[in-house]
Amino acid sequence: MAIPVDEIIVKEEKQNLATVSVIREPLVTGGKTVHDVTEDICRQVEGKPTLSWMLAMAMSLGTLGIGAYCVFMLLWEGIGVWGLNKTVGWAWDITNFVWWVGIGHAGTLISAILLLFRQKWRMSINRAAEAMTIFAVICAAMFPGLHMGRIWMAFWVLPLPNTFGSLWVNFNSPLLWDVFAISTYFTVSLVFWYIGLIPDFASIRDRAKNKISKAVYGALSFGWDGAAKTWMRYESVALILAGLATPLVLSVHTIVSFDFATSVIPGWHTTIFPPYFVAGAIFSGFAMVLTLMIITRKTFKLEDYITIGHIELMNIVIIITGSIVGIAYITEFFIAWYSGVEAEQYAFLNRMTGPYWWAYWTMMTCNVISPQLFWFKKIRTNIAATFILSIVVNIGMWFERFVIIVTSLHRDYLPSSWAMFYPTIYDVGVYLFTFGLFGTAFLLFAKFFPVINMAEVKSIIKTSSRKVG
């Protein structure tokens, strides 16, 4: 059984308030001791739900309910309740899908790639970011299912042995690649996230005062004993999973982009898509992490763990990825012109000046211009500005997918088939459904799971048991 080391050390060394490192700012401020960490994080889990949590939960459930009605109508009546037509066969459905998958990139990037790069600042945000990833991927996975005309046959996209003779899936289809890419990504992310949770569950279990908590967290912690050997194995597993997850961060959105890149539709058939989609995904994922973190740190009073330093670092990632995305947009245009392909040239001109010009310019403003504001240190260290811009970025990234999907389809090769897409309330409703689902899941996570990886954060407190600063 683990000995509550924290207390002993705290007692011994409380008097010594040593200075912080001269080399760099501390990653956790407020001179937290390891005990403080445990207390701060477990407070939410152990306490009663707060009023704001209840309100947020009510809102999420409400949204989920409205959305569920729209999903029901979609399944009952058919895809026709959406605004799609003979020319535009995908619109909000796949836009939302790509958007959610994109958001789902940040978590794994933070926990896996930054782990491999030994970026320790990730430690106080990776738990929540990974949770967000899991939920975003679940939301994303809704759409490939819901957008099917016959969702009750959805299992046919899995290569299952069947009684239909030699009937098999089509391995040429990027949609099938999506199925594999996303299910793999989801599985690895979930396992990675859960493994990381085990030591923290054990801490909560050890502190649990009632039987139910003890039993539940006991079961969740898989009998964690905190032994050195266990920790050693834990570290190795984390490293292996990080290694596994790293290529996935790049592969998932690459494969999602293949849905478009391998097609023949002008505006889709673009070889630049894989890197451009991955950069866009990280861009939107970081923005979403910021949105959620800023709310969480405020409501859960975690300002010392998620510091301005974190926000600034993430904003820098946003400038970089945002600029990559911006260059990609410009490159696309250049190539459309340079290729001499008439249909391609028209598709891009039509994006800018056609009936959906407003969507295009919304995308450009939100994705290319707005993140450039983060060059100013004042802005990138301003919480309110960051919060607003993080939302703006995600609006922009939604429009990016909308622009790619709808403006390319609505005017492609044969002018006779050109048509407009107008969304219906069910397009909006099913999107809301995923918001409700995401919100509900995230709130449940925030209440019942430790939102910050206590075990890891304890390792980066400057002098583990001393109050600093």
Partner: protein
Amino acid sequence: MSDKRKQYWKGVEQLTNDPAFVKNAQSEFPEFLPISDNPEGGSSRRDFLKMMGFGIAAASLAACEAPVRKAIPYVNKPVDVDPGIPNYYASTYVQGGDYSSIVVRTREGRPIKIDGNALSPLTKGCSNSQVEAAVLSLYDNERLRNPKKGGKDISWADLDKEVTSKLDKIAAASHEIRIVSNTILSPSTKKILEVFKDKYPTTKHVVYDTASSEGILLANERSFGQKILPTYDFSKADVIVGFGADFLGTWIAPIQYAHQYTQTRKISDTKKTMSRHYQFEGNLSLTGANADYRTPLKPSDETKAVVALYQALDGKKSDIPRINNAASDLKKATGKSLVVSGSNDPNVQIVVNAINNKLGNYGNTIDLTTPVNYRQGNETEYSELLAEVKTGKIGAVIFYNCNPIYNTQSGADLAKALEKVALTVSTSDRPDETTKFVEYVAPDNHFLESWGDANPAKGHYSLSQPTITNIFDTRQAQASFMTWAGVIQFDYFEYLKSGWESTLAGIGLIWDQALHDGVFAIPENSEDVIFEADVSAAISAINKAYKGSDLELSIYQKVGIGDGTQSNNPWLQEMPDPITKATWDNYVTVSQAWANEKGITFIEGKSNMVNLTVNGITLKVPVVIQPGQAPGSIGLSVGYGRTSAGKVADGRGVNAYPLISKINGMESYAVISGVSVEVLEDIYQVAQTQTQQTYMGRETVIQETILSEYQKNPGAGRYHPHISTWQEESGETHPGALTLWKGHKYKNHHWGLAIDLNTCIGCSACHVACQAENNIPVVGREEVINRRDMHWLRIDRYYSSAPDEELDDDQKDMMDSRKLELVAANPEVTFQPMMCQHCNNAPCETVCPVAATTHSSEGLNQMTYNRCVGTRYCANNCPYKVRRFNWFKYHDNSKFENVNTAMNSDLGKMVLNPDVTVRSRGVMEKCSMCVQRIQDGKLRAKKANRPLKDGDIQVACASSCPTEGMVFGDMNDPNSKISKLLKINDTEEADYLITKEIGEPRAYHVLEEIGVKPNVTYLTKIRNKDEA
């Protein structure tokens, strides 16, 4: 007896009367039944599970409602009906004077498809959209099911008793009796009406037509002394000039004219010439859209143009555009030209006759010795009838299959005046505006349930035969007339047969053969005629009457709905108009200039509504801005605004018949004065299937040239895309040369379709034929607005973009791509039938995650409906956008029962082709190249133990095409029509064929540059224009 009966023992036990046997003998199962696995008896755990399983299964099965199967096998199989094998019957389509000899395909006793009858020397196997759609009208759930009196059911016996007694009373009082009908082509019906007249001598037969051509009849009477409609032969004409005559769409006999016309438009290595066609008209008609030169003129100017052409032939120059060119071209083609006018004014037609006479066309392109019997209506007699009804002089009116209360100018007056008539009867087979106002309705059979004959032109006869027994308690109108004339137990079939047998014997035919062929000809003599008419009097009458005004209205018939007789037919309602691509409505067509003046726009079918006032009648109508609409003119079609035709037609559009005017005493579809339009605030959206008007200058879609260029180089107008490569020395190659795919080897057949854009007139017969053949649902106006029409075959109609000189200053500053969207004021029009191109490198096939769309071993791209999960990826990735998704369940769905009548009632479903699946909600569908017909053809050849011949298989679109513009066949067969047409060189050396090498220089694939390698090939459009 019982003593003698032999005894058989069940076993030795019975013989020995074993006590154990005796004990069990009485129980149902004397031996131990191994129900239980437990040898000790009682139930084991296994038994319990078995029983529980059985119990649950039985209980849940009992809870399910067993589906009612309505397919009942024959108790006694009819001799000539084999389930699964279609029967074909020749018959005749006659509706409102339109005629076509047809072949009806029936399956298990149900007519399911109408095709043209190739044996007919008149229609030559051609049909049009209305003929194709007529089979659905047979299964209209709203047809009258039994005779009616005052809207209530009545028995035939009672109806006959009452009608006869009333007729007797009226005849006894010497009151007048009138039979009103449209033009009757049937000689035996005319004979029967004579019998009726003999019984009731005060009877007079009054004939009217919904679109009167009496002007031509009268003009010919004045010119040649014969009140006839001549036979026109467009196929012999090198120069054709039309004045407002939509002879390819709706004028007199469009099926025949379309066929003839395209014979002059076909181009091949052996015939490098084509006719030149000038059209002068107000609305952009189907005919105008096909003209080489089209001059938009408002109706009064159009009439003046006729006079101008007459004078131009004498050397007087005209300032009407292209009249002088037309005159000089006509003069060069003496005896090989044809001038026609759609005007109903005998004065205009006299001038037209004079022109044709001067050009020597009589005896060449116009045959007065073989007059046709269409449109024999007599306006004077009809207006006399109306006056007599109003004064109460008439005792009885019988409406024989006509609907004058709806489709005449004075319908409302007639409805009111009918109150004064003692006996009113209609024989309409379905409720209409007239049946609402008559006392008795004696419903006729549908023509597919009827016997009959027709005499469309002098010496040409055709027969009709029933293809199904009467669905309802209806009676053939001929039998009704005979019954009322006192002939008891009249059998029309016997009458018809006995009437014809002797005549047929005279030409060496027997009845069965004639009925089998459906058509026969009897040589009849005629005399020569001389042109003698006072042309100058006619010209002065024209000059007096056609003053012209600022705004003139051209009323017209739409190609699909026509005069509105079949407006309760959803296939025709949803058939996009070939020109406007609008469905389900009529609308005022206006010019762009007029719209600019009034400040109205037309975007995605949305525009302001207007109040159209014509001589005191005001109609609220939507607007469509129509390129090519003559300035100062507007157009409005008849056939809409039905009030009692049924749920499909009622309340759609407005009725334009009351707007018909009179000029020089004759009915005129052109209204040249008293027209005003007031723009309203209300916005209305017309449901169009195509909203982008131009082809954006994309040569990869439409490839065209002019005749002189073609004569120099048959490949003129072709667009050859090139792409860069390092593999060739020249640095570039054609897109087909680079591919990721191995290609396909088609060992047996390689199906292909060739479409000649120069022959396609856009008539949309193929469109309806495809809908009928392939059980394509109708989705209704709202869903068309949502751009979800389901048509597998559509006809893309493209206008030419506005030339620079037509642009205003704002437009000149636009980007090039925007400028291309602007339509020319008088555009050139191209029709392009578009269906699944059956690509050899099909983009749809690679993207389907479940392999629901795959490539066949015969080159078809095939769709497996029940494997489809509905991701729509294939439709997105289809460069031709021909895939159609089932957004809803269209069959057995109350939301679609008012529009998709063929799939929402037991009666409607009888029209469905049993060889084609009705698709469920959530699956993708598209043109299958009539794979059911391909399989059927192969099977028939196999059964006959012979190789498949070219022509054994015909796809629905190609077989319906009145212009033979579509050729379907096996591209692996070097002797097939398609191989010869495309000059296919089969390069067999490769293991896998990438594609067939096409030798015909005119042939091209749409979107060749993306390398999908379609099996549908188009031939360039060629216009007979002078070099610019």
